[in-house]
């Protein structure tokens, strides 16, 4: 099967001031795959993820060179707000706005100019359904989102991203603060979303990458050491460092 690359990253180097965070990363991200990114702390995983929708630039000391191409367009030529609509992100700790559940999800459509009430209603319900949260909150959409549990908040974040109708969803250690049951629900949602979205999952939990991802990349000190089918990375790693990491000898 010849897979179609949605995002092509070529020779990406990233710097925060004098510190180089990513070294010469070249990788394709294929349509409808879940690309797992594993690696120890400070290995550049999150920088790589943030480079894809230019969130690194919120830090004024950030510089990068190399090319990132989304659907044949260099992302440097796409305006930030359009790019971030197409490439959504779920942050590490559940981050909801202190407004109602409904308004959290309607925020994306609102800033993208969708204001007709019945259309927004449909988007909100659809997004919550896809994030497996609808049944738990359908009777209390006006409730403050901050009163949901951590796991529910994280699924709300997924729904909020889905409401922007992205092509790609990035996850930055989405389950780091969650219990195993909430984690399982989020992993279920990711599996369901596979048919319509391309997903990139950065995780500290190698087992999660093994469970969820179809391909997996291993980052170490800003380098992409190895990227391959997930089964191969875990059972037949080519690089000694990858083997050491996935077998738990360091990291």
């Amino acid at each position: 099967m010849v897979a179609e690359a949605v995002i092509k990253v070529t020779n990406l180097n990233s710097y925060f001031g004098p510190l180089q965070a990513l070294k010469d990363i070249t990788v394709d991200i294929y349509k409808n795959e879940i690309l797992g990114i594993i690696g120890p702390a400070n290995s550049g995983k999150t920088t790589f993820l943030y480079a894809l929708n230019r969130l690194n630039y919120l830090n004024t000391a950030y510089l990068q060179n190399g090319r990132i191409v989304l659907e044949n367009r260099n992302i440097a030529e796409i305006s930030d707000n359009i790019l971030r609509k197409k490439i959504g992100i779920i942050f590490a700790m559940p981050q909801v706005l202190p407004i109602s559940i409904y308004n959290n999800i309607a925020y994306g459509p609102k800033v993208h100019g969708i204001t007709r009430k019945n259309i927004v209603n449909e988007i909100v319900e659809d997004a919550l359904q896809k994030a497996y949260l609808w049944d738990e909150v359908k009777d209390r959409l006006d409730m403050m989102a901050t009163r949901l549990s951590g796991g529910q908040q994280q699924r709300l974040c997924i729904a909020r991203t889905l409401a922007c109708e992205p092509d790609v969803i990035l996850y930055d250690e989405p389950c780091s603060g969650l219990d195993p049951i909430s984690t399982a629900k989020i992993e279920d949602a990711m599996q369901q979303l596979k048919s319509n979205y391309t997903q990139v999952l950065v995780t500290n939990n190698t087992k999660q990458a093994a469970r969820v991802s179809s391909r997996c990349g291993f980052f170490l000190m800003g380098e992409l050491v190895e990227i391959n089918q997930t089964a191969d990375v875990f059972s037949n790693p080519k690089d000694k460092r990858t083997e050491d990491y996935v077998t738990g000898r360091f990291g």
């Binding site: 969130l55 707000n81 790019l83 609509k85 959504g88 202190p98 925020y107 800033v111």
Partner: protein, 282 residues
């Protein structure tokens, strides 16, 4: 009882005593004014113009004048102050120039009010030919209020968690949408506090309005923004020092009205603040 507990008790008593010492003058001032002024307060006093060399009648024109000046000041200083704070916090790059502006804003709040009065007089009254007028007075008071409004707004904006901005931007909102929907609503209570504080000060200032708007005796209401008005603090100064044989109770009653006006403004801000806090909690 051991030594640490005794020290704890001593510290408690000393700190409590010092706090009491601080609030005593304020409470005494208010009590003194209420005691001496309340007797002269009547419907006539707040609804009539002064008569007979200001020794009789009321202070209605001065009340209206002060309210007009406060409203005028707010119209100019609130949008200018909040918008420049938004620029400084959300848009300005952190460089030497920005830091210089921030430093000047802080220092401006330390300038004596008479200097603002002279500046307003030269710029608005003479150079721009507004004359001694409500417009010139409001603009002068607005300039005096700006530093406090900017500083308070800046602090309120900076207190909004960065995660709100990051969420909004990550969903594809533009910078302005982010400020408009995810930052400003949460900063409003803080902005309100600073604004009212600074407007209360403007309501009670004499020096900035001395040359720019205040009328010694003008027992009619203004017709346009280019008219002079009487104002409570200046009127108080006039009747306390410039009019011989002035009954004391009229001065105190005027002071009482001025304090009540400022108190009402603060009350409105407290009500608005709790209203916004209830709506936006985090």
């Amino acid at each position: 009882m051991n030594a640490a507990k005794i020290r704890e008790k001593v510290a408690f008593v000393v700190l409590g005593f010092i706090t009491l010492l601080v609030v005593t003058p304020i409470i005494l001032t208010i009590l003194y004014i209420v005691k001496n002024g309340l007797g002269a307060i009547s419907w006539e006093f707040i609804s009539q113009s002064p008569r007979n060399g200001m020794k009789e009648g009321g202070i209605f024109p001065a009340i209206v004048g002060t309210i007009l000046l406060v409203v005028g000041t707010m119209l100019f200083s609130l949008p200018l102050g909040v918008l420049s704070a938004v620029y400084l916090v959300e848009y300005a790059k952190d460089n030497a120039f920005t830091r210089m502006i921030k430093l000047s804003v802080v220092n401006l709040s330390g300038i004596p009010s008479i200097i603002y009065g002279l500046f307003g007089f030269t710029l608005f009254v003479l150079f721009l030919r507004f004359g001694t007028s409500i417009l010139a007075g409001s603009l002068t008071l607005a300039i005096m209020s700006l530093p406090v409004i900017i500083t308070a707004s800046k602090e309120a904006l900076e207190a909004v968690p960065d995660s709100f901005r990051r969420i909004s931007l990550s969903l594809g909102a533009t910078k302005w949408q982010t400020v408009r929907y995810c930052v400003l609503p949460y900063a409003i209570p803080g902005i309100l506090t600073g604004t009212v504080l600074s407007l209360s000060r403007a309501a009670g200032e004499t020096a900035p309005i001395l040359f720019t708007v205040a009328a010694f005796y003008l027992p009619r209401l203004p017709h346009s923004v280019f008219d002079q008005v009487m104002a409570l603090p200046y009127h108080l100064y006039v009747i306390s020092t410039q009019v011989p044989n002035m009954p004391m109770k009229i001065s105190f009653a005027t002071a009482f009205v001025l304090i009540t006006l400022v108190f009402l403004m603060n009350l409105v801000s407290i009500i608005l603040r709790t209203h916004f806090r209830k709506k936006k909690q985090w």
